[in-house]
Structures are given as C-alpha cells and as structure tokens.
Symmetry: C2
Subunit: 349 residues, 2 copies
C-alpha cells in the first residue's frame, strides 16, 4: 500500500504492523488531518491538508467536502474500500458536512458514540461524525474535536497502574490554543469545561490595536518577558486584562520594555489572566491550581509556555500528553464497534 | 471677524461677546478641534478638522503640522495675529509637532503650566503645548489631552457652593472611550489614574475575531442586551473577560442571543468587566463604586451606557459634564498667564 504523509513511529513501534482497519479524520476549521490505522490501533500513515471546512477546495454545494475527503484518503480507500471512517471536529458543525448536534455534558465516550451521525460520501463510504459537547447554563460552553482529544488523553487506562486510576480520579485537562479549553474529567466523563479566547484575543490585540504597532518579533521566545507578564497578571491583575494590557504600551513609553520583549510580555499577561481566571473558578469549588496534577494537550511550544505559567500559580505537575487526537479517534471508533481491537491492543482502546 | 464653524451658544450665552483673546487646540491622533475665545472665556467659534497627528494634510517633514494649523485657525490669526495659542493632546507626543514630556502624577494645573513647551509656527505664532501626565510604577499609566479635560471638569470651582467643594473633596472622573481613563482627583490634583482599553478591544473583537462574524448592528442600541452583558460580567465574571466573551458565541449557538443583540451584549460584557475591575481597585482602598459621586466626560451616548453600567454596581450618582475640553484649555491658558480673564469671568477660569 502506498503510504502518503508521515507515519507516527512512536505509536506504531508499540504494535506489530497489520493491515489497515480504520481511517480517522481530525477535520477542523482550517485543517484536515487523516490517519490510517492497523487493526491494533497503530498509525500506518497520516496525511495533513489545509482543507479545513472554511478552506475547502471548492464550495460545499459543489461537492467540496467530497473533494477534500478524496484528497485526504481516496488512495487509502482505493486499496481498502471497506474500512470504516470516523471524523471529529468542525466537520460536524452547522457549517460542516453534516451537522452532528452537540451532546450535553456530562459526556462519556458512550454518550458521543450514541449520537454519531453518518454521512454517505460520493464514492460510497460512510463517514461517522462524532458530535461535540455542549454545557448549558448562563454562560454556555461548546467544544468540537477537543472532546475526542480528551478521551485520547484518558485512553491509556489499563496501560499502567497510575493511568488506570483515571477511571475514578478527577482530572483537569488543558488544551491551549486559539480558544483554550479547560475540562474537568471524572469517571471517564467530561463533567464541565471552560473556554478562554486567549489565542484569538492575543492575535487581535497584536494585529489590530495600538499594542502591536511597536512590537518586533524576537529571534527566539523571550521567557523572561513572558514570565514578567504572567506575574503582573497574577499579582497586579485586579483591574482585569482590559487594564493590564495597556502596560505593554506604557512600559515601552517609559523605556522599561523593549520592542522585542513586547510580544512575549503581552502573551504572558494574557495567559497569566487565563490562569488567574481558572484559579478563581477552582477556588469557588474549594480547589486550586496548586492542588492539580493536570495534563496539557496541544502544540508543544505553547504547552511549555502554559507549564511555565502554571508553575507561577503553584501547579508544578503538568504533564504534556501526545498523540491524543489519533488515540481519541481510535478509542471512539472502538467504542462504536467500528473496529474490534485484538486483545493485546487493549492498551490503546 | 469671519466666524468659521459653529459657535457654542450654551457657553457663549453666559457672557457678553468680546474680542478674540485665545485660540485653543484639542489636537489628537485622528482629529483636530480649534476654539476661538473672547476675553471672558466664551467660545466665539469652533472648527473641527480630521487633521489628527496621524492624519495630517502632508507629512510632518513637509510642514504637515503648519499646514493643519493654518487650516484650523489661519483665518482667525489673519484677523488677530497677536492672540496666544494653546494646544493639548497627542500633538505633544513623541509623534507630535514637538514633544512635551509627561509631567508626573500627582499633577495640578500649575504642574502642567510649568512644563508647557512652546513651538514656533511657520507664520510666526507660538503654540503653547500642554504636557500629558505619567504615573510611574509596575503598571505605568499615561494620558495626553485627558488631563486638560479633567481640569475643565473641575474648572467651575467658585461658581456654586457645591462645586467649590472641589478644592478639597476627592472625586472620581471617568472618561469612556477607546482607552477609557478613570482619574482620582483631590485638592485640584490628578492623584492617580487607570486606563482600560475597552473601546479598542471591543472594536478588535468585533472586527477581527469569530465573535463579530454573526453580529448584526441593530436599528437602535439594545439596552436590555447591554445590561445582560453588564450583569454577567458582574455576577459570573470570575473567570475573566477572556472567558466570558466566548458566551457571545455560545449564547448565539444555543439560540439565546440574536444576531442583533450580540453587539450590545458584548459591549455590556466589556464595560461590565471595566466596572468590576475598577470596583476591585477601589475595594483595595476600602472604597467602592457605590460610595462615589462621580463625573463622566465624553461622548453623550457612551457616557449614558456607562451610567447604566455604573448603576448595576450601585453607583447612581454619575454626572455628565459637558464642554470640558474648551473649559480645560481656557483654564490652563489662564493659569499660564496667556489670558487675563476679567474679574466677572472668574467662573470659567
């Protein structure tokens, strides 16, 4: 079989390579990533495309979803037409291929599976679209795609005594990014979660306000400037982020912050306010960041920034969990009966 | 004398109209407003131009400031070449005509006057540029132009027993806008102040994030949606503005907020967070918004929104003060000896 894209040896090496058994799609707004699995849940091949749902090769009305789907995994399906296909992310939104309505929190993998929505492709395959999760309330919250990653982060239950404790223990999982999510997971269920628009607000402030005008991107990230921002948010942030961000400008005007320091300082301020907000929410529940042993999912460099910021709030136990997208897709597919993992592959189911 | 632009009858009517005695310029980033005063401080004429310092008719190197100056008040000076000229605002910044370095808070009108910087114009007049105010610290703050408006709001000392109490009483003055300012004034001095980038952040979120995509501007401001946002910020805002703003989207996704309600809801959220931040700062000083009898300066419709928001925080005594820019410029000019108000005009000096 022709293998397009790069394999993920770190996972594949754990298992004997077998024939293809599942195609899984992580299909977001601006990107589409496809995974080909063997029967043991090892990744045989991956393909990364820019054909997110807002960036299809042609319009949805003109078959844009089918075209992107064929680009992503047509060659794989030519070789193995009968293998099942699962997809998660914005592909199931109202602007997606077909809407997979949100399931309500608390939500387990079973809850997701029960509401999978199938869509028939032009070439005859069925794509099983995983729904997102909605938390109702005065401040509702939604996620699409992250729920699958979260189950991927929990999916190693059974692999080690520590991780099998997932079954009952409460865990806090952070997903830094454009819209950062923080989810409280217990007994294999997403109990509740929060969204912070940290990444998107940073971009908007930098590109479209006066704060960006004097900024110069440094050659390498400036950890000191970043931590300075985090500490200001933690110790002097009472007036809120609408007030503290102006210091990016005033510290510059008073020659206390160079142009090259400004981007990381502003990033530290915003992530620091995110931490302070999360801490305030935890405090309301007689909990704290310092008491957490939490997991981070996402871009490694960004997760590292979050680890630094978390440490400033007393949380020194933040573990970066990798390959959660493919693990989560595999796990939901197994739970849905789309694949029947061999007994020795239980560690990834 | 030819009078360009519109007069301000509300002020002029208080005093007999006399010959011109002062030209005053409120010269900001995007606009330039010129006032012609008689010897009693009554406004004889005004002119409004778009020639802010970032919007000059030609570049600064090519005499852009002189050109804008001539456009604004050349005709007045042709008729009365000897009258003094005063200017406040960004015209005194590092990007302005000539830099008038910040004076440090606490700052009185005398402090400002002592550091006025003169600039000679091409036509031979001298423009007296009022400095801005800097508050040093870990979170420095700066203002340019607002200091003059604040002294304008305090400038009626002597006019009535209530207002003469300004001399000793502590007052909180709010200047809503792109960069909202809140200044604590006591004994005629700006003691300290805060800046909230509320207006600019609102514009950036609306124009350059996902929150704006579903927004439709309503025919008239939606007070109910605005107050809903204020109350969410007040009662459910613990996680901070980075978290609450996402509800603009999720309330829309769950059909609880229409497209037309979204702009005012988001505005309410941001202004509500500004109030909550201000309240937190006041609380640190054993003070509160509810205990304030404060003044608002600025756009009337925006000040009305702030009054509504302040009321949600228990502050029902918020007085809108008008004509503070021209009154402040007149007052600083008088303090500087540029004009010698007649005794009966003491009320505006």
């Amino acid at each position: 079989m022709k293998q397009a894209g790069s394999s993920t040896p770190a996972i594949a090496a754990l298992h004997p390579i077998g024939p293809a058994s599942l195609i899984a799609l992580d299909w977001g707004t601006t990107s589409l990533r496809a995974y080909l699995f063997d029967a043991n849940g090892a990744v045989l091949a991956t393909r990364a495309l820019t054909a997110g749902i807002m960036n299809l090769p042609r319009s949805a009305d003109e078959g844009g979803f089918d075209a992107a789907f064929d680009d992503a995994c047509g060659a794989w399906l030519d070789n193995a037409p009968a293998i099942p296909v699962i997809a998660a992310g914005m592909v199931g939104s109202a602007q997606g291929w077909v809407e997979a309505p949100y399931v309500e929190a608390p939500a387990s993998a079973d809850t997701l599976v029960a509401d999978i929505v199938p869509v028939k492709t032009a070439r005859g395959s069925t794509v099983h679209i995983v729904p997102g999760v909605l938390q109702r309330g005065e401040l509702p919250n939604v996620m699409r795609g992250e729920e699958t990653q979260i189950f991927g982060a929990l999916g190693d239950a059974g692999a080690s005594p520590t991780q099998s404790a997932d079954a009952g223990k409460r865990a806090l999982i952070g997903l830094p990014g454009t819209h950062a999510k923080w989810a409280v997971v217990q007994a294999g269920r997403i109990e509740r979660f929060h969204t912070f628009m940290t990444g998107e607000v940073f971009a908007a402030l930098r590109e479209h306000t006066i704060l960006g005008r004097t900024m110069v991107t440094p050659d390498r990230p400036d950890t000191e400037a970043f931590l300075r921002g985090v500490k200001i948010a933690r110790d002097k942030g009472k007036a809120g982020v609408l007030a503290t961000v102006f210091s990016t400008r005033t510290l510059s005007l008073t020659q206390q912050l160079s142009r090259e320091e400004q981007p990381d300082y502003l990033s530290g301020l915003l992530i620091g306010h995110e931490m302070a907000g999360l801490e305030a929410v935890l405090n309301q529940q007689q909990d704290s960041l310092a008491a957490q042993s939490l997991r981070l999912i996402g871009n490694e460099a960004l997760c590292e920034r979050y680890r630094l910021a978390l440490a400033q709030f007393g949380c020194t136990q933040a573990e970066l969990v990798k390959h959660v997208t493919e693990r989560g897709l595999w796990r939901v597919a197994a739970q849905a009966g789309l694949v029947n993992p061999a007994p020795h592959a239980a560690r990834v189911s």
